[in-house]
């Protein structure tokens, strides 16, 4: 059992969540409310990681994060280390790959808030920020939860993009999904089995937790 790989996967999932959920809330809310003609194009763009093979996404990310790219170059200048094949690069890749898993449930959740409710908040004299915190966010809460769970679970299980962008550097980019593949290649089925079980348990607990929370939310609505 490769505990480092599990810890790395959990850390990657946590970072992805921390960055993507707030961004997803902003983007999902904007997409839900905008009348901009660019909306379908932007929606298609956010859905792209869902339909492209991981190798294609991974390839472009590798190009974008590499030392020759402006992003990779700037990162290397500031931090003195390359972005590709690093944990930071993996976080960037993971955030991008998970965009549809975060943005789509959030967009649906914000779009489901009735227009009348949104306008009532303005008529009550609530500021934009108050309306967002007291009315919109609580009503979009199931969407936030499902975005978080999908992103978390998907990050734990991501394989192709991680392999393309991160390689398989122990302690840096070797996540548990890669470690399982690694062990299977080495005919170490016991270790592979243990880690597969660990991933299964963690994923199950995460999803179950989301159902428990969502159930509690439905009950607490009664308050």
């Amino acid at each position: 059992m490769d505990w480092t790989a599990l810890r790395l996967s959990l850390a990657l999932a946590a970072w992805t969540l921390a960055i993507l959920v707030p961004l997803g809330i902003v983007a999902g809310r904007w997409l839900a409310n905008t009348r901009s003609r660019s909306r379908p194009w932007l929606e298609a763009l956010t859905a792209l990681p869902l339909v492209l093979p991981p190798t294609v996404v991974g390839f472009y990310l590798l190009v974008a994060l590499g030392a020759q790219s402006p992003l990779g170059d700037a990162f290397a200048r500031v931090f003195g280390a390359p972005l590709a094949f690093s944990f930071a690069g993996l976080v960037v890749a993971s955030v991008i790959v998970n965009i549809p898993f975060a943005v789509q449930p959030l967009q649906r959740a914000f779009a489901a808030i009735p227009h009348e409710v949104r306008e009532a908040a303005q008529c009550c004299g609530l500021s934009r920020w108050q309306a967002f915190l007291r009315i919109e966010l609580p009503l979009a809460w199931p969407g936030v939860l499902s975005a978080a769970v999908l992103t978390f679970a998907h990050t734990l299980g991501e394989f192709g993009v991680v392999l393309m962008v991160g390689g398989s550097i122990p302690g840096e980019t070797k996540t548990i999904a890669i470690a399982i593949y690694d062990r299977v290649q080495a005919f170490d089925t016991t270790a592979a089995g243990t880690m597969a079980l660990a991933l299964l348990v963690v994923s199950f607990v995460t999803v179950a937790l989301s159902f428990v929370l969502s159930d509690r939310w439905l009950r607490s609505e009664r308050r």
Partner: protein, 361 residues
């Protein structure tokens, strides 16, 4: 302070200029798509008209000439939308408290409770909107709208989603709240009876334009145009030719000559539309024929009659006008006493004062 509204908007179309009297209940009536809700939304600041000015007294809310528009949250309004727009995740009390963010946090609950009590929904503080009946939801929405002590209360068909008996109770409550707090109320409705019951002023709207507005009684009984008469659903809409002789105006309507009110401002020789309320058509008693010259007697035959509760509506075919149908509304006992029946000949008077000449085709 009057609310003056002068706006032009493209989609939905709005083109109106109206002064709404302060502290009165003004009903805005018109068919679906006439721009009633859009008018309310423009006043609330939920849509921004292409051009115009909205002001309460000297306080401008919108002035496109100066490029200024107060955001909704800064306008002293209360708004009750058709489905109330209650916050579904918040209790009745919390819904009302949301309107009280200008008060210190400690005072909000007490004030919200007072507002709920004012709207007759005390004791339901902890209920969520979905745990309330339609009438209770409407009251909570009203409490929330009134909590900020608005100068203008905007009500968008607030009685349309409750049953009849609840509606009657809510009518009384609105009147009571209005008497107590005296805001200017704009009540959007497509129900003329509701408008007649509640409003002191009536504003008829069609395709975003004001067809007529004024005191409710005046608008209901004295439409000025054919369009207004149609909106008021007046059945007696006819055409005649006006002539003036010795300072007296008369109208030729088929073989009949009807004297018109003294101050009729219609050009002689002009073909003009006119109407008369079915309740103003006077049925002559069978045992006592018409007296006097000015009573505009018209002989007619009863085509058919319908009894609606205590009223009878009879359609009469006036002599010499086989295609015209003159509606007459009398109480049931009058109809019975005079033996009104299909095919019977009657005489009615179309009193000069009751004849309303109309502008337009």
């Amino acid at each position: 302070m009057n609310l003056s509204v002068r706006i032009v908007h493209g989609a939905p179309p709005l083109d109106l200029d109206v002064e709404l009297p302060a502290g009165e209940i003004v009903a805005v009536v018109g068919p679906s798509g006439s721009g009633k809700t859009s008018l309310l939304r423009a006043i609330a600041g939920l849509i921004r008209p292409r051009s115009g000015r909205i002001a309460l007294g000297t306080d401008a809310w919108l002035d496109t000439a100066r490029g200024m528009s107060k955001p909704t949250r800064e306008r002293p309004i209360g708004y009750v939308s058709q489905h109330y727009g209650l916050f579904p995740h918040l209790s009745a009390l919390a819904n009302v408290a949301c309107s009280l963010t200008h008060l210190p946090a400690g005072e909000r609950a007490e004030r919200a409770r007072a507002c709920l009590a004012l709207a007759h929904v005390a004791g339901l503080d902890d209920r969520l909107p979905r745990e309330l009946s339609g009438g209770q939801q409407q009251r909570v929405a009203m409490a929330r709208a009134l909590a900020r002590e608005p100068r203008v209360l905007l009500l968008d068909e607030p009685f349309s989603s409750v049953d009849r008996s609840t509606r009657k109770r809510l009518y009384l409550e609105l009147k009571r709240l209005h008497a107590e707090l005296a805001p200017t109320v704009l009540l959007v409705t497509h129900d003329l009876d509701e408008a007649a019951l509640l409003a002191t002023h009536l504003c008829l709207l069609q395709r975003g334009r004001i067809v007529q507005h004024g005191a409710t009684g005046d608008v209901l009984t004295r439409p000025t145009t054919v369009a207004a008469a149609r909106l008021l659903d007046l059945p007696n809409l006819f055409h005649g030719t006006v002539e003036r002789e010795d300072g007296v105006s008369r109208m030729h309507w088929g073989p009949h000559t009807l004297e018109l009110p003294d101050a009729t401002a219609v050009d002689a020789g002009a073909r003009t539309a006119w109407t008369i309320l079915p309740t103003k058509v006077l049925l002559h008693r069978v045992d006592r024929p018409s007296r006097g010259e000015r009573e505009n007697p018209v002989r007619a035959t009863v085509a058919d009659l319908v009894t609606l509760g205590d009223d009878v509506i009879a359609r009469l075919v006036p002599e010499g006008l086989p295609d015209a149908r003159l509606h007459l509304k009398v109480s049931l006992h009058v109809a019975q006493r005079n033996g009104l029946a299909s095919g019977r000949e009657v005489t009615v008077s179309l009193l000069a004062e009751a004849i309303v000449p109309l502008a337009g085709e």
